[in-house]
Symmetry: C2
Subunit: 141 residues, 2 copies
């Protein structure tokens, strides 16, 4: 039994209901998590990627600020709680299979979403190997 | 031993090397997979989310077209091979921890990235419950 009140996550319906329905019927993975993509609501830039459990999703919907589940620390995590770079959720979407979330946000505070101090965690571009067994490089965007 | 030649995936270095280095040192998960976010290179719209193993990543880098690993079918999958809606990769990024990929693509064929016939898999927006224990709805974007 949940300690805190939670929204009802409807059970999975038919494929048609999941793909075209008007009821959120999420499919949490074996660890009870949904992948969550975070992008800037204005620029479209992908800022970060994290995971939500049911409680993180509940807190996000209730507060309007992104909460995640830290798999390494095994704890709930309000993004930006220490840095002030909170993620104000402008829109929250799910995909056809209802097993992924996409958050369109405005980053508060300094506007940096990455713990390294970058605006986005995705600040490096892969450079293909020059030979079949060569190494893959990275260059800063 | 790999059946096909693969690029060398460098071993993980220090946190500083992983976060700021110029060498791709990916951290595949326990199943040998990396989450892959796909967005439209021009509009920034998030189109889909899938998974890559080392071979899918190798094929993507070698061909310029997105390949994934289907967890349900347990097989490699060239996105759009049947529909013609191939994903031409314009840029491939990784995140600070090098355990997530972001593909910026142009969708070929009809331009639809979702198997339902939508341009994006993320065509529905969550609507918060009106009561603490209410249901979460979805509305089409």
């Amino acid at each position: 039994m949940a300690v805190l009140p939670s929204p009802v996550f409807a059970p999975r319906g038919s494929t048609a209901e999941v793909e075209q329905g008007h009821q959120f019927q999420p499919k949490f993975d074996a660890d009870g998590l949904l992948p969550a993509i975070v992008s800037d609501a204005l620029s479209g830039e992908v800022l970060m990627f994290a995971w939500m459990n049911a409680e993180a999703l509940r807190l996000t919907l209730a507060s309007g600020y992104a909460h995640f589940w830290s798999r390494s620390r095994r704890t709930l995590w309000k993004k930006g709680e220490e840095s002030g770079n909170l993620l104000s959720v402008r829109e929250l979407r799910t995909d056809c299979d209802q097993d992924v979330l996409w958050l369109r946000v405005a980053v508060e505070g300094s506007g940096m979403a990455c713990h390294t101090g970058s605006r986005s965690c995705f600040y490096r571009i892969l450079t293909p190997p020059s030979a079949p067994a060569g190494e893959i490089g990275l260059r800063h965007a």
